[in-house]
Subunit: 318 residues, 2 copies
């Protein structure tokens, strides 16, 4: 469930566009007004505002935001304003240009979006960058990381409603996983095949059977070598595919509890999940940390950036 709060009465897109134009004009920017509008409209509404703004003022709204705002606040507003598919395409593109730790962002997007959403990200990538998402991911990775990430971003998992789990397949593939893990063949093609092509429901059944049959969680067995970076990424992928709220809770916890908040991650998770499953992520955060996510964010951030994040997670000022 989303934490995004859209008012009962939503002004016409032209009115919102005009208000935003006012917020940019004159001496100083009216940040509160920007938050009041953009942090309280859904994706379809934001798209319409952007379109109307462009028609009225001959300029992309994102361009104006870029000129008027700065730093973490700017990134939060711009990322949230973007259409979800474009936003993800942008995040992946950014990740292919940064250090290897950004493999996590690529994995996160590939594993926590629905099949059709992920395909829409690939379509948006074509339109924005005149190349394909998977060719950039493949070009900028190698070895085991490429072997895992390219199929993850290219897959179109089955997720229809009539999904019946095939239990004999689940048992057979749990056994395959067990054998490969016992032999420490973590990046074996069979492990990759099962993780990257099976539907989430089927994979879940396989992992449940793994737990029942072998007395251990698959992800626990993958902890054999706690410092292995590839294993960490593989474990995170499994988490994203099966219990995304737990994955996001951990990213948020680590971003906030770091010496010096990791605004990059904090902004990404809040802007990409506010309209999706932030309610569950907040519950998970409270359960794990005995404190609300609102308080944690309020303690660690400040100013307009803080206000924007709190608005997106449905808190208002704390």
């Amino acid at each position: 469930m989303a934490t995004l709060q859209v008012p009962a009465y939503v002004p016409a897109p032209s009115e919102d566009a005009e208000q935003l134009r006012h917020a940019f004009e004159g001496w100083g920017t009216n940040e509160q007004l920007i938050i009041d509008i953009l942090a309280h409209r859904n994706a379809a509404q934001r798209n319409l505002i952007r379109k109307t703004y462009h028609e009225a003022y001959g300029k992309d709204l994102l361009r104006s935001l870029d000129e008027e705002l700065t730093s973490d606040f700017e990134r939060a507003v711009v990322l949230f304003t973007l259409d979800p598919a474009e936003r993800d395409a942008h995040l992946v593109n950014e990740s292919t240009k940064r250090f290897t730790s950004s493999n996590w962002v690529i994995m996160e997007i590939a594993c926590t979006r629905s099949s059709l959403q992920l395909f829409n990200v690939r379509k948006a990538y074509h339109a924005l960058y005149n190349k394909s998402l998977e060719e950039d991911v493949a070009h900028h990775t190698k070895g085991d990381y490429r072997k895992l990430l390219v199929p993850l971003v290219s897959t179109f998992r089955y997720e229809g409603e009539e999904q019946e789990v095939n239990m004999s397949l689940a048992k057979a593939e749990a056994k395959i996983l067990r054998d490969k893990i016992s032999d420490k063949e973590y990046s074996d093609e069979e492990v990759i095949r099962i993780v990257t092509t099976r539907s989430k429901a089927q994979l879940n059944a396989t992992l449940n059977h793994y737990n029942t049959a072998f007395g251990n969680f698959f992800n626990k067995d993958l902890k054999a070598d706690a410092d292995d970076e590839f294993l960490k990424l593989l474990r995170a992928a499994i988490k994203c595919l099966t219990v995304p709220e737990k994955y996001f809770e951990k990213v948020l916890r680590q971003a906030i509890n770091k010496v010096g908040t990791d605004e990059w991650a904090l902004t990404r998770v809040v802007t990409t999940r506010a309209e999706v499953d932030m309610v569950r992520i907040k519950e998970e955060y409270q359960r794990k940390n005995s404190a609300t996510l609102e308080k944690a964010i309020a303690r660690d951030t400040s100013g307009d950036y803080e206000k924007m994040l709190l608005a997106l997670i449905g808190a208002g000022d704390v």
Copy 2:
């Protein structure tokens, strides 16, 4: 260009559906009437006929065709009547259940369809089989074949109009291909990456540069081991990606010149290309064989099956 011939005046779908119903009724089936209708309607028209038929008679047209027709003629009519995306999904599904030579059909569909067409095949696969195309392909292949085929069916290559070829990339990747081939590392991850993720235009530039820089066609260098089945498949993939009409000409030639025609392949190529590029394939056939494809097909097939194929390649009776 398509060889499919649609008459200037096309009856309403309800009229076509009624005529087909008549063709099935009574003593014996009116095969000529079935050909006159179904072999002369485009995909959108055939879909409408199928829909109208179902509404009027409470039965899928394909089901009726299946009951009334037999053997090669049935397969040709049914395959052509299917929506192109469903047809390809059906062909891939069939291939994952047959012998390894059917890897060629999977490769052919992955490499000769446009990016969006291939994605529509994957969507149709979900709807028809309640699982994903790539999970079946991955499950039914292994080793080098899997390594090549899974990314081939999963890719969404860039093919926008604003496609600019990156020449320095083409040079760099031609060099990579050359190095790997010289070391006989034909299934190296870099070779696979270049062949499976780059746009067709970019790949073409890379292969052209390969030819210029190293004095040999890439595909000729891949002939080092003429009996290697994986190398044959890789060469065919390159051909499908760059000169599909030459690939299809060869499939037709081999299907026809075999001792005992290979109707399976003949029907597949004619029904899948009649609405796409059969004009070019016919030209290529005539150039290579100093005989028309019409004559070759007429010599090797007979009866309603012959009539159906000739109608699809725009020949009428010969």
